[in-house]
Symmetry: D2
Subunit: 486 residues, 4 copies
Amino acid sequence: MIRTREQYLAALKALKPNIYKNGEQITDVTTHAATRRVVESHARAFDAAHDEKYKSLFTAKSYFTGNEILRFNGMMKSLDDIMNNAKLKREMYHFTGSCTGGCCVGWNSQNVMWAVTNDIDKEFGTDYQKRLEKWILNAEEKGTVCAGALTDAKGNRTLKPTQQADPDVNLHMVEKRADGIVVRGAKLMICGVAASEEIFILPGSGYKDTDAEFAVSFVVPRDIEGLTIVETMRPSDDRDYKEGWDTMETGITQAYLMFDNVFIPNERVFMAGEFKYAGKVVEYFTANYRACIGACVAGQGDVMIGAGVLMARANGISNKKFDDKFTVMSANNNTTYGLGIGAMALGGAHASGVWISDSQIAHLNKIYVATLPYETKRLCQEIGGGIVETGCTPSFQDWNDPRYGEMIRKYVKAGDCSAESRVRAARLSEWLTIGSGVPGCMHGGGSPDGARMVVKAFTPFEVYADFAKKIAGITEAITDPAADKK
Amino acid sequence: MIRTREQYLAALKALKPNIYKNGEQITDVTTHAATRRVVESHARAFDAAHDEKYKSLFTAKSYFTGNEILRFNGMMKSLDDIMNNAKLKREMYHFTGSCTGGCCVGWNSQNVMWAVTNDIDKEFGTDYQKRLEKWILNAEEKGTVCAGALTDAKGNRTLKPTQQADPDVNLHMVEKRADGIVVRGAKLMICGVAASEEIFILPGSGYKDTDAEFAVSFVVPRDIEGLTIVETMRPSDDRDYKEGWDTMETGITQAYLMFDNVFIPNERVFMAGEFKYAGKVVEYFTANYRACIGACVAGQGDVMIGAGVLMARANGISNKKFDDKFTVMSANNNTTYGLGIGAMALGGAHASGVWISDSQIAHLNKIYVATLPYETKRLCQEIGGGIVETGCTPSFQDWNDPRYGEMIRKYVKAGDCSAESRVRAARLSEWLTIGSGVPGCMHGGGSPDGARMVVKAFTPFEVYADFAKKIAGITEAITDPAADKK
Amino acid sequence: MIRTREQYLAALKALKPNIYKNGEQITDVTTHAATRRVVESHARAFDAAHDEKYKSLFTAKSYFTGNEILRFNGMMKSLDDIMNNAKLKREMYHFTGSCTGGCCVGWNSQNVMWAVTNDIDKEFGTDYQKRLEKWILNAEEKGTVCAGALTDAKGNRTLKPTQQADPDVNLHMVEKRADGIVVRGAKLMICGVAASEEIFILPGSGYKDTDAEFAVSFVVPRDIEGLTIVETMRPSDDRDYKEGWDTMETGITQAYLMFDNVFIPNERVFMAGEFKYAGKVVEYFTANYRACIGACVAGQGDVMIGAGVLMARANGISNKKFDDKFTVMSANNNTTYGLGIGAMALGGAHASGVWISDSQIAHLNKIYVATLPYETKRLCQEIGGGIVETGCTPSFQDWNDPRYGEMIRKYVKAGDCSAESRVRAARLSEWLTIGSGVPGCMHGGGSPDGARMVVKAFTPFEVYADFAKKIAGITEAITDPAADKK
Amino acid sequence: MIRTREQYLAALKALKPNIYKNGEQITDVTTHAATRRVVESHARAFDAAHDEKYKSLFTAKSYFTGNEILRFNGMMKSLDDIMNNAKLKREMYHFTGSCTGGCCVGWNSQNVMWAVTNDIDKEFGTDYQKRLEKWILNAEEKGTVCAGALTDAKGNRTLKPTQQADPDVNLHMVEKRADGIVVRGAKLMICGVAASEEIFILPGSGYKDTDAEFAVSFVVPRDIEGLTIVETMRPSDDRDYKEGWDTMETGITQAYLMFDNVFIPNERVFMAGEFKYAGKVVEYFTANYRACIGACVAGQGDVMIGAGVLMARANGISNKKFDDKFTVMSANNNTTYGLGIGAMALGGAHASGVWISDSQIAHLNKIYVATLPYETKRLCQEIGGGIVETGCTPSFQDWNDPRYGEMIRKYVKAGDCSAESRVRAARLSEWLTIGSGVPGCMHGGGSPDGARMVVKAFTPFEVYADFAKKIAGITEAITDPAADKK
């Protein structure tokens, strides 16, 4: 039986309170102003799984048991499986307008680690994959929402982990015991943690032999002893604390996870020092992640199209007047979506059975994910008018003020719909383009400059130069002056 | 004697409290959280006027009296005068990081109305220019900060003023008396009003003969009887109410000005029904305004370069690594600045002596003002890293929390500078790119689609087709099929 | 047995001479200056089919007979089949630097007509698919190079076929006989005809009931009685007639095909008046064609990267200095390639078994195909320097001039390679970017504006507006003002 | 009296034949197929100087004599003077569709050398400016068309002049005699030489003390003893030799100038070893040149708009359908024009009286000159359709072929105008966008990467970082890690 929204909320309520924001401890994430919205976003995935219209996308059959499970708990072994990852994400954005990290990063992490534990076990005779299988079976059965975390605090960006003044700036094992490991450090800017029950930890980078203590992967309950979670700020996030329409019902959060000598039992550890496979984790993770996030920004872009349509009409203008702009927006959305699908189709199955997308095309997609949505937002603001651009309309409190609220309502009215609908559409547009619904498409999942390096690395310059030489009828060798000097 | 910051602040304190935000009346704009920042921004113009380094830019000699005045109270009659308008604005952004509308729109308005009253008086034998001269002389002497307002509430965008369900959605005269006029309506999204002492009102559009009641221009004290001002929201504006570095010391505001049967004495009225000149106001205003705002976004872009340099270093990376991105940012800044200057140089003096920039190039510049800064912001975010992109770091309260503040400070530390400096640079970058420092470069001063129409209107298609015909050796007439059909 | 280059050339020589250029009849396309290069391009596909390294890509197993055939004669029924179409095209560009239309349009046409004849036969009980099968079996066995033709002369673009002053501007049946049909009209700008043995004709547009005579598809021998072929000009095509390196050994041609009452026997006719399926032809053709052409421009872009590498070195500069530009070029190439693959993966099998790509993503890809290569070319020119940009170096004759040739050779020498290699690399770059190797990526396979319309048509505006409404909490209906008026 | 077209042509005929192309010596540049078009282009400037409509732009009053002169022989000492340089160039493109280098580079050279000789004479007590004055007085009186040349052959781009295997790859003095200097070397890719009577030589780069022999400036008659000129190829230049409309009547050429021990008498030498001023030549030249060339590409872009209008109509479509594309084209044209004007207005007068534009904005303009026209061309091709894109229509010979010419004419007919006009408009579009009318906007006047370096060099990073620090409230010093290491 697929878990319901109510079961999910009850599970969140039962967790211990280790999340903070603005100096305040959050005792119930499902009701606290700072977190209830991210919880609502994730709860909508459960609604969809029980909705006939969306059920086939939101549920799947377990490769292990054949049982019906939530799709985001399952394995992705075929092109169809991974394409459905993208499709599910795009649809989730339609429901929430923003990111639902808990239906995403943990899912990708479990699949990537399925491949990597396969490789590690083969070389070292370890039993990591067995441990992972056990955890997955439980998650599938329970329908666990599991966030995922890669990004370390990192410290000085030009120094290696062992060169840092404070070794904790990269999460590391401080002790390896017979029954588990003890870790210290932090994972920063982690999405959707407040809506998750567990968190999957991956190493933050490829590591060398001197960095074995940093090559670590495991999964923890969100409320594990020793873990302190502080939610970060976001644009306009103080509006979460107010009533009215100045913010939305859904949303996303990002948190600092700070591990202070946390003990992880062996059955939840999937890498513990096998440094040469840390790079594989990053490679597989980014290939699949960057292929799929194109669907996320597409989904949000779709909602921006919808918001633009509403704003045009609320301003009294036919949305057809903006057809050219909407076409560019739609083109942008489908570029990151379609190119991601292309990366998937050019990928193939890993020895473990897990599907890995094509790295070059996936990283290329990241470049677009880090640029096109900015144009889409700009166009959404251009269509909506000045009321949208800087959120330029009085607050919900002013709207209702007995002294001058009536005047405000009178002057906000424009098209055929109510003034309230106009201000709601404006707030939505603001939230999507310059507010707390803005997802991290620039640096989320890594920076575009890193992606550019991968695109370059996979370009076979000498091969292409040879093709050119043959077509031009050049027969002598023409080597690079720089290469000569070595 | 040029007025000091202190004199300016004292004058603001003396005004009557007709400004509201979030349902609260603001009794002292110089200290209230919602307005003290915009006041601080404007106060820095007074500092500059007394600073030997900036004095020659911030002061000028009066064309009327020959006295030394604040430059933004003066007339712009030469190419140098108007170029100095642009230079002053760019510099102001360097001091504040954001818009200072009170040193800007009123200044442009008084100059534009100098030209238009000249034309009206010539045709109708009125004495508008005399009235204006008297007001200017007083403003020059006093050093008045005067905001300016064009944008009406507008109502349904596809209907004309007289077709609107509620005629008040465009500001209009409801009574014309011997000693003055009575007006009702609203001007929306007006910048810097809380820091201004007076407000210059211009008609919001070109008008036809049926619209005479809407063709009205005047100047009012900010606290005039019958005027209610409600400040609008801006991204992250609730941070204004908190202590610490999560917002800046400077800033801009935008307000709804609602006129409820306000009486304006004749000496402050400069247009009262001369509808055929309303279009001239818009034409001259936009030509000069859109030539000059390129300097504004350039100035903010300069600060974004500075913020990027700080962030790179604070992350432990040499800013030289981002030279390509900084070069694009600098190119963007100087494009809107330089093209605006080009519009000025291609302009010329109006019969009244006032310099009017070239319309086509000025409107072209608006297109860039509505697009390039978005790329500049994106690059600022790309350089700064994830901490910048969505403001992804805990709040000032969390930073100081006794339970976990120390951990946060430990994990935020990266480059050679202090963790505090890093978070301050990050907040600045966030504020500039996605926070309340974001100016309205898309719709401020009108929409880019309107600018595109002007660019097209000034393109002589038939002339260019004739050049092409001659070069191609075509001798027959080739007319447009559409034109044929008429 | 796969046909050899020699067999292919012999077959071309045996055709009757119905091709003209510059007022001259071409008696042997394999040796005439105007056509030998396009023949050489296509001959290289036969080389590849016999080369162990490329064999698996250039040959396939027949779905009909199980025999090994040239891939471009086969059916495309799986995602792999159509992805291999794209891969083959990209590789062909590596061999030729330009288009090889004869390995392409006929191939797509036979597949598209397989689907459409399936639909027509089902509705009308005709036997078109049987006829087509017979033709395909023969082509597979023989290894026929078959061009394809859609674009009619069209006449006045705003008039329908039956409204045209001259009905021949769209190819049409002028007689329907028991044993076949007689057609008149022209297909313009048809690629690779001079290198082909047969030509597959498709209707040029979707047609209505009044246009039945234009809804016609068939395949003809290139030298069929009544068909006159005139090759069009291309940039710098007069260089084809000269000796030396000022042009390349490979190339593409485009021709006017003029049918003057040509009789087509029934066995070669696959549509003859079934107007309602003409639209299907266009729909299926463009979906697959526009998905695949991304690979073509990618392949040419790869050669531009190679040419840029050679030019940098020939100028004495390390190509690494241009890494940023090469990365953009590579990104552009892989965008059109990867997005095309995405369109394929999002497609599916038609009832006839033929794979049809996703229309929206395929048309989106066309927009990129019509824009990105222009940037790639610009970068190739930027890297190569002034010698490349306008072909700015003396001719082969001047190079060898006894009076001053030595001086030219002295001054062309720059990097470590010979002056000859430098000028060859420069000519290649010129040819690729501004010469006769430039393929028609703007209008080839239809115009980008048509593609934009498809992208828009497939965007569900009302659905997206509903998602936006739900997120914004808007409950009232908000309809489009324009829609209201109907 | 201003010289007439006839006088100009007669002067060209009288020159000795030292120009070659395709192995052929050109005895009369005014009639030879390879050069008559560039001569026609320049002759149109003389027509304009005698046309009442254009006279005020094409003539000026001499600063020396007060006489009426051709504007391109005069000094540019005021902002108006240099703005008129830009305006004249834009107009010349309207007449010719292409570059007229002889009305341009020599003009700029004489002005730049006026400033530089002023500086040299001041330091060294030389009399270079006097010599130059004498030459200018003569040129003004005669109305001399004078080309200009900077670009050396350069050899290996990573080696300095003295490190080159062959010192001649940079033009240099091989002997300094009492009565003059002897030079050897080459200037490559020099525009409009065939239409000029004299050539102004500038040093190709800034030079160091070891490079004194390369720091040389002088002016020579085009047919000076020892100078061999070979015209380079251009796209489709062989069409120059054919009759009919496949090319235009106007055009531009680029040549290799090879100096083989040429003696220059002192009175024509303006720099001879003063290496430290070679950099000033480059600085002043590029500042003014790059400010002005924006007008050139604007002028050609205007003709592309005209060609697009004609093509739309000739295709039977209203040009209004392409308003959005035309607006972008017009915006592009006016961007390079207006930004160049901005660079001029931000410049100022040199001590010698000559106006020097602002370097940063001028170089920024070069970046746009090297990018925007590519988009303008692409749009011109997009509007024109497939017939334009690759010149895809049969040749003039085929058009007139008795066997099939009639069919071609029948199928080319589309809109209301004649088929001939349609093909003429198509050839014009092809010539402008991908033919021999393409000017070198990428590398002409230097490469955009050099311009980018200047834009960066003029960006005060530390100043901007300080502004950012103050706004962010940062008080500690934050230095660049890289800078620290030194």
